[in-house]
């Protein structure tokens, strides 16, 4: 793992990975959107509104996936003082918050025609809303200290505490019998969704994942450069003083 702790090596690898992940993002999202919007059947009950699913479901998956990564990066940062894990965690949080917001907004837009309401205090919706606030708290805490290392460390502990919420979100639809439907893709006994809908859904999910990887690389790169700049400024300040 410490092979990747070297920022210079990371920057070289990132430069190699970025074009591929960016191309895959465009490809998957393009194909996924084409299938989702034009070349997939409308639902027999929900009609055309089912197409919201192709954004909503992958966004919700990403919200959990990014938080899980955030918790892992935080644990790595705390246990091994891995210098890039700190930066990765800091860079990940806003992306995860954006995915969570996207899933909440699309869910609300989908809920209005289907359930007849923009918002219900259902277990799944409530736990995802808590996840959103955990992301915001993480971002606020990471930026609340004059010493960025201190902020990263505190935010990492918060991320691990908040990880309690992840299984609650995943299983909320099974534990509480409320409005949100239970899982139909990742379940024991295989997916209960037709392949004509599964294909665009998976394409969108891969597209979102590659998007996450691309933006994460860009953001970590920016963080490394910002840190370098800060060190240079300090050195300069000391030289002139």
């Amino acid at each position: 793992m410490h092979r990747f702790a070297n920022p210079a090596r990371f920057l070289r690898m990132a430069a190699a990975v970025l074009p591929w992940s960016a191309a895959l993002t465009v490809g998957c999202l393009g194909a996924g959107l084409w299938f989702a919007l034009f070349d997939s059947p409308a639902d027999y009950q929900q009609g055309e509104t089912v197409r919201i699913m192709y954004v909503h479901v992958p966004a919700a998956w990403m919200a959990l996936f990014v938080y899980t990564n955030l918790a892992i990066a935080s644990a790595v940062a705390l246990v091994w003082k891995h210098p890039l894990a700190d930066l990765a965690a800091r860079a990940m949080a806003p992306i995860g918050a954006a995915f969570t917001a996207l899933s909440l907004i699309t869910g609300s837009l989908w809920g209005q025609p289907m359930w007849g309401t923009w918002w219900v205090w259902d277990a799944r919706l409530t736990s995802v809303l808590i996840l959103f606030f955990l992301y915001l708290g993480h971002i606020a805490l990471a930026n609340a200290f004059d010493d960025p290392t201190r902020g990263n460390r505190a935010a990492a502990i918060l991320a691990l505490v908040g990880a309690v919420n992840v299984p609650i979100i995943k299983f909320s639809v099974d534990w509480w019998n409320t409005l949100h439907q239970p899982a139909s893709i990742v379940r024991i006994g295989g997916p209960t969704i037709d392949s004509s809908m599964l294909t665009p859904l998976l394409l969108m999910a891969f597209g979102f994942t590659f998007y996450f990887v691309s933006v994460l690389i860009l953001r970590i790169r920016a963080e490394i450069l910002a840190r370098k700049l800060r060190t240079l400024r300090f050195a300069q300040g000391e030289a002139t003083a």
Binding site: L78, T126, I130, F133, L134, L136, G137, A140, L141, A144, F145, D146, R150, G151, R153, A154, I157, L158, L160, V161, G162, V164
Partner: protein
């Protein structure tokens, strides 16, 4: 164990020498509740319907109010470093701080809650459930709050940041605390909800001191 008792006794002694601090929290609790009859109207049916929710939400806020000084004074006068240097595990001492916080805020809030229930026309059968739920739930609030207080130690605008971190984590306690009272009022048993509150406490009791100690250590580095 001696160190644990010493930390608790020290905080209790400090609280007893300045009894105004605990009293302020209770006063805030009662005053905030009194606002609601003015806000939603004094009809007893409406107040009785929302009594358990108001009691719990204001208890959460009152608990929050006292959290920012949980480690603040110790951090400023350097005694936090002394506590961290002691041979006893910091986790145990963090637990002691949380226990002291509960004794000086949670317990007074529980003592004041029958008065709140009276103001809000809570039906008589809801009283035991409210007291039991508060008794099981407020220690969890102190433990989770301790994490927030330790994390925001030395942060800019720490006082504003603290609710942002802690309130989302308080929601499960609120849900089951209110549900216990509601169940009792609906003629059902409060027991399952009280057991869930107990479960939350059993989860927070070993995990929170660990997180608090980690946060305190990194604030001292």
């Amino acid at each position: 164990m001696n160190a644990f008792v010493a930390v608790v006794a020290r905080d209790l002694r400090l609280a007893l020498r300045a009894p105004g601090d605990s009293a302020t929290v209770v006063l805030f609790f009662v005053l905030t509740v009194i606002l609601f009859p003015f806000g939603v109207g004094p009809e007893p049916q409406i107040l009785a319907r929302i009594a358990s929710g108001i009691a719990w939400v204001t208890a959460l806020l009152a608990c929050l109010l006292s959290l920012d000084r949980l480690f603040q004074l110790e951090s400023e006068d350097g005694s936090l470093e002394q506590i961290a240097l002691s041979p006893a595990p910091l986790e145990l001492l963090a637990l002691g701080k949380c226990l002291a916080h509960w004794l000086t805020t949670g317990l007074p809030l529980i003592a004041a809650s029958p008065l709140i229930a009276l103001f809000l026309h809570l039906p008589a059968e809801g009283y035991p459930a409210l007291l039991a739920a508060l008794a099981i739930g407020t220690p969890t609030l102190s433990l989770i709050g301790g994490i927030g207080a330790a994390l925001t130690l030395g942060a800019r605008r720490g006082g504003v940041l603290l609710p942002l971190l802690v309130l989302p984590l308080y929601i499960p306690v609120l849900i089951f605390g209110v549900a216990a009272v509601e169940a009792e009022l609906a003629g059902l048993s409060a027991r399952p909800h009280l057991l869930m509150l107990g479960g939350l406490a059993a989860l927070a009791l070993p995990l929170a001191p660990w997180a608090i100690a980690a946060a305190l250590r990194q604030s001292l580095e």
